[in-house]
Every structure is written in structure tokens, then in C-alpha cells.
């Protein structure tokens, strides 16, 4: 399914509209996933990024073709914002033959090499060394591209992050480390697990740290552009986006550990509500905005239907594909 093109005619506001459209797509996709999961149409477990759409839209809006990224278990928004084929995405999560990864990976490993998406990851912290290596390849091959590592605040406790930051600084690699700081590590406030301050850690390696309101798409987009430009020109940078996890750690998590007020006030920071309000301010008709939302939902509905109709992956073909077939390289 093709996505609607950017409304170039709206000129100066096209960026905000694009961000808004991207967030609507992520929102529609994950809202559908939540329902599909509840209905048992999605195997395994999924981690939704509802409420965090501005980080995905903002960061990916700053990337150019050829730039690469590695993400986390909560990576739906990132890969959708990067432009992954939504059809293949849904088929993957629903375990179908036509899935982006042929139904072998599910939510936690979605990848698209053509878009430079080196995969979501089931291992907390693993995205950073992967992106580090991709940045090393960019530098060695002089591609001029940057590599982005998404990681969560809980992942800050993994030594992999620290080792990678040092190597990025040592070799001044074009690495943008994006901390999606939602304050939670599974069922615990990250403050109860991690005593370090990311700004100081980055500083200890002489790495620039940029802080952004991750619930505001435009702010995040600008910060991300600054970070990406810095990485391209001058080496590693850390972008910390403060955002909000609306759902449980995984779907089905009752979130007993979160207090009522937090749950209640969450919606106030809704990145999509914000961008919609700003677009209204600058005169975009509510009808147009509603249409955009409807388009996103229609797109998703189409993908879901197509996925349901898609055949299940074939076991023998899968078993035959563990190694690269001779001659394929």
C-alpha cells in the first residue's frame, strides 16, 4: 500500500504536517496492534510506543537516505517513521509468509536493509554497539552517512552503552545515540535502577549531549536535525528525548505499579494532540486533519486485512535459509 505524499502545497508547514502524518500512522498502527494482540491475532509479546510517537517521527525526519539505525524492543514507531512497508510490518507481527522478515522475527527484530534499519532488538542495550559498527562502516567507507542507535533509559545500565560511547568518542564516529527516556524500565522507575546522569556520562567522554522534549515532534525534529548534523560533521552525539510510555511494558501488563494521577495526566502531553493544535492554529482545517487521521487508519486497516489473508510461512524454506545460500553473494 502506498502512503499519501507530503502536502507540498502547504509550503512552510509541510514539515509539521509530515511529522503529524507520521505520528498518526504510528498511532493508528499501534492502536490496531493493541486490539489485535488482545484478540490473540498476534503471537508472542509486543511493546507499544503509544505516547512516544514524537521521538520516532522527529528523529527519523532528520535522517537522509543511506543513514542507518538500530533500535529496541519498543521499535515499531522508529521503523514506521523510517518508512518501512506497513504491509510487510503487519504481516511480520502476525507471523505471515509475506512478513518483512518472513514471519521469523516478529515485533522484536523487524528490519529493512533497504532503509538501513538494522533491526529492532530483543537484547536491551545491543542496539548501541550495532549502530556503532554501522557508523564505523560509514566512516571507513566514507559514505557520509550517520548511524542512529535508539535505546531506552533502562538500557543505560548496560555496559554495552558505555563501551560503545567510548569507542565512538575515540574514533569520532558519526553515531547519534538517541535515549528514549520514558522514565520506566519494565515495571520499575528507572531512577530506582540507574544512578547516572546521561548528560554527565556523555560529558565524561567529551560527547555532546542534546536534551529534547520528546513529546513535541517539532522540538524533537529540530534537536534531531542538530544532532544528525553534528554527527555528520563532527562525530558522536547523544540525543536524550524525554517522553511518556502510555501503555504497559508489554501489552497485557496491567500496570498496577503506576499511580492513578500519572495515568490520568499522561494524555495531556499527547504529542499528536499538540501537533494537531498547532496545525489548527496555523489554519489547517479540522476536516483536513481528520482526513489525515482517517487515511492513516484506512491504511492500517488495509494492512491488517491483507495480513490476515496472507499465508503462513513454510517451515522447510525457513530451515533452508539459516546460512546464505551458495552463490547468493
Amino acid at each position: 500500500m502506498k502512503r499519501p505524499a507530503a502536502d507540498k502545497h502547504i509550503g512552510g508547514n509541510s514539515r509539521l504536517l509530515d511529522l503529524h502524518r507520521t505520528m498518526l500512522l504510528v498511532r493508528a498502527a499501534e492502536t490496531a496492534l493493541s486490539k489485535l494482540f488482545a484478540d490473540g491475532e498476534i503471537p508472542g509479546f509486543i511493546h507499544l510506543s503509544l505516547g512516544q510517537e514524537a521521538v520516532a517521527a522527529g528523529v527519523c525526519s532528520a535522517l537522509a537516505a543511506g543513514d542507518t539505525m538500530a533500535t529496541t524492543h519498543r521499535g515499531h514507531g522508529h521503523v514506521i517513521a523510517r518508512g518501512i512497508d506497513l504491509d510487510g510490518f503487519f504481516k511480520e507481527l502476525m507471523g505471515r509468509e509475506g512478513g518483512q522478515c518472513k514471519g521469523r522475527s516478529g515485533s522484536m527484530h523487524v528490519a529493512d536493509m533497504n532503509l538501513g534499519i538494522l533491526g529492532a532488538n530483543g537484547i536491551v542495550g545491543a542496539s548501541v554497539p550495532l549502530a556503532l559498527g554501522s557508523a564505523l562502516a560509514h566512516q571507513t567507507r566514507q559514505t557520509g552517512h550517520v548511524a542512529v542507535a535508539f535505546f531506552g533509559d533502562g538500557a543505560m545500565a548496560e555496559g554495552a552503552l558505555y563501551e560503545a560511547l567510548n569507542m565512538a568518542a575515540l574514533w569520532s564516529l558519526p553515531l547519534v545515540s538517541v535515549c528514549e527516556n520514558n522514565g520506566w524500565s519494565e515495571f520499575s522507575p528507572t531512577a530506582r535502577q540507574f544512578k547516572g546522569r546521561l548528560v554527565d556520562l556523555a560529558g565524561a567522554f567529551g560527547i555532546r549531549h542534546i536534551l529534547a522534549d520528546g513529546n513535541d515532534a517539532e522540538v524533537t525534529a529540530e534537536a534531531a536535525q542538530e544532532a544528525v548534523d553534528h554527527a555528520r560533521a563532527a562525530g558522536p552525539v547523544v540525543l536524550e528525548c524525554i517522553t511518556t510510555r502510555w501503555r504497559g511494558h508489554f501489552e497485557g501488563d496491567p500496570q498496577k505499579y503506576r499511580d492513578a494521577d500519572e495515568m490520568a495526566t499522561m494524555a495531556a502531553g499527547d504529542p499528536i494532540g499538540r501537533s494537531r493544535a498547532r496545525l489548527a492554529e496555523i489554519g489547517i482545517a479540522a476536516s483536513h486533519l481528520d482526513m489525515m487521521a482517517a487515511e492513516a487508519e484506512a491504511l492500517v486497516t488495509g494492512c491488517v486485512d491483507a495480513s490476515r489473508a496472507d499465508p503462513l510461512p513454510d517451515f522447510d524454506a525457513t530451515l533452508a535459509d539459516v546460512y546464505t545460500p551458495l552463490g547468493a553473494h
Partner: protein
């Protein structure tokens, strides 16, 4: 006899061990407030307090390394690594430190610690959340490796593991956590290294462990219809493993199949089959069959994972193959 569940037996074993010995402490990610991702530690924070039930950061290497240092300093740490797949981040602490300290230090110290590792598929959790890596640990002198299949063994083996003076890798099967079963009111402690004959039979010996036990028992039931009497041995302990019980059974049946959920190639079954072939050579009337997962990462899709995990049919086929 109270009816319990596999995960509740684990929980009770932890609770009883902590009540019996205040040097026993727990460490792991979200094990305290949240009671663990699989609820194995539910209620223990309330019962024993934050000094002895510690929520850790996401730092597997340092967690297990700290457990070794704590074990060398008077505690008996029990660590939960949420999924066995994540132990890849703690291999130095387990293999270079825990396993070797007693030996390297000339026997001056023991390292009484347990690392709980939930393994296995069936949850469609995908390639990085479903592996069975126990063969790695069985290859390492200094480690002991246990894997309970029943509710009672989940309790009795874990109590034995915590009492043991040496480092124990305790493998739990995620698909079994919710399994119901009886637990005696005063459950005992197992003897590490003893297998259990889960079903007596005379025609063939099936050696297994973990969740695969139930596929083996199912296969054994089905084979009765084919006039085949199957003896099923649950190893329970993989390192050390109960060679005597296995060889005695093979001496009786003259045929053997080894079955497990782990990848077949270079898996636990290879050692068992090799030893049966070597020490039971004269008893064998047929090649030792081996059943294990095919040589591929654990796939996500239901249609793939259900075929990946060895089932009763695969075991039945292997048994019949060694009876033709």
C-alpha cells in the same frame, strides 16, 4: 499434598530456603517489587525485605559477577536472569569466575550460588527469547546444571541447588511455569545427580529432561497401542548426570532414544548418546536415536515454532525407528 504450579514450587523453594538460611539472598531484574517477569519471586520482598531481595539494574554481567563476590563473602545468592538468552552477557562471571574460583584458589573457598535461567520456546517469543543453551554449561568443569520437569522437582531441585556449596545453573522451562501439579506439604530436597524413572518400560529407553519429558510420556502412551513398552528417564540433573540409571535401563531394554528441546546438533543429547554408545555398546540392539530441535534459530511465527519444538510424534518416530 497441596495442588500447586511449577512457578509456585519455585517460589516456595526460594521462600523456604530464605527462611531456613539468612545468608540466602535474591538478585535480579524486577524480581522484588514486581515479583519477577514470571512471578517466581512474588511476595518475597514483602517477606524478606529489600536487603535480601534486590531489584537490580539491567546489568547481567555485573549482577552475576557480584553474586560470585557475594558467594565468596558469606552469602548464598540466587540470581534470576529473566531469559536464558541474556546469560550471554554474564558468561565471564559464570564460566571464568564462578566455575573456577574454588579450583583456582586451591580449594580455599566454595562459591555457593544459583543462577536461575528460564529457557525454551512455546511462547512465540522469537529467536532471542527462547533458546536452550544448557549444553554450554554442562561442558564447564566447576558448574552443576539442573533442569526440573515436574512441580515437585522444581521445588526439591531448587532447594538442593541453593544448599549446594558449588555454583549451580538452574534451568527452568518457561512453558512449564503455569503447569499444575502436586506438591507435598513438606517437600524434600533432591539429590543432585539422580535421574528419575518417570515411566517403566521394557522395549526401549527414552532419556530426556525438562518440558520434553511430557512429550516423551505422551509418545510412550501412544506407543502402547503399537505394542511398544517405553521406559522414560527424566535426567533432572545434566551435570553431573546419572549414567548408572541410564545404562541400567539400556541394559534392560537394549534400545535408547535421547530427546530434548535444545538444538540437536552438539546438544546435551550428544554426550548422553555417546556415553550409551561407548559404555552400553554390547547392550545395544539398535543405534541410539536423538531427537532435538532442528539446526535453526527459534522462529517466531506459530506455524514455524510449533514445528521447531520436538513433539511426541517426533519421539514416537525415533522410538519406532530403533525398533525396526
Amino acid at each position: 499434598m497441596a495442588d500447586s504450579r511449577y512457578v509456585r514450587a519455585i517460589n516456595k523453594a526460594l521462600s523456604d530456603a530464605m527462611a531456613a538460611d539468612e545468608s540466602v539472598i535474591l538478585m535480579g531484574e524486577d524480581i522484588a517489587d514486581a515479583g519477577g517477569s514470571f512471578k517466581a519471586t512474588r511476595g518475597l520482598l514483602e517477606q524478606f525485605g529489600p536487603m535480601r531481595v534486590r531489584d537490580t539494574p539491567i546489568s547481567e554481567n555485573a549482577i552475576v559477577g557480584a553474586a560470585v563476590g557475594a558467594a565468596l563473602s558469606g552469602l548464598k545468592p540466587v540470581v534470576e536472569i529473566m531469559f536464558m538468552d541474556f546469560v550471554t552477557l554474564a558468561m565471564d562471571a559464570l564460566v571464568n569466575q564462578a566455575a573456577k574460583s574454588r579450583f583456582m584458589f586451591g580449594g580455599q573457598a566454595s562459591v555457593p550460588m544459583v543462577v536461575r535461567l528460564p529457557h525454551g520456546g512455546g511462547l512465540n517469543a522469537g529467536p532471542q527469547h527462547s533458546q536452550c543453551l544448557e549444553a554450554w554449561f554442562a561442558h564447564i568443569p566447576g558448574l552443576k546444571v539442573l533442569c526440573p520437569a515436574t512441580v515437585e522437582d522444581a521445588y526439591s531441585l531448587l532447594r538442593a541447588a541453593i544448599d549446594d556449596p558449588d555454583p549451580v545453573v538452574f534451568v527452568e522451562n518457561k512453558a512449564l511455569y503455569a503447569m499444575a501439579g502436586d506438591l507435598p506439604d513438606q517437600p524434600g530436597k533432591a539429590m543432585i545427580g539422580q535421574a528419575r524413572v518417570a515411566r517403566e518400560g521394557s522395549d526401549v529407553t527414552v532419556v530426556t529432561y525438562g518440558a520434553t519429558l511430557f512429550s516423551c510420556l505422551k509418545a510412550a502412551d501412544e506407543l502402547v497401542g503399537h505394542g511398544i513398552s517405553t521406559e522414560v528417564i527424566d535426567l533432572r540433573s545434566l551435570q553431573p548426570w546419572d549414567k548408572e540409571t541410564v545404562l541400567a535401563s539400556v541394559a534392560k531394554t537394549h534400545r535408547a532414544v535421547v530427546a530434548h528441546e535444545a538444538v540437536r546438533s552438539f546438544g546435551i543429547g550428544a554426550e548422553i548418546a555417546a556415553v550409551i554408545g561407548e559404555e552400553g555398546f554390547d547392550d545395544l540392539d539398535a543405534p541410539v536415536g536423538r531427537v532435538g530441535a532442528p539446526f535453526m534459530p527459534v522462529p517466531f511465527a506459530r506455524s514455524l515454532e510449533s514445528r521447531f519444538i520436538p513433539d511426541a510424534a517426533a519421539i514416537r518416530t525415533a522410538v519406532q525407528a530403533c525398533l525396526v
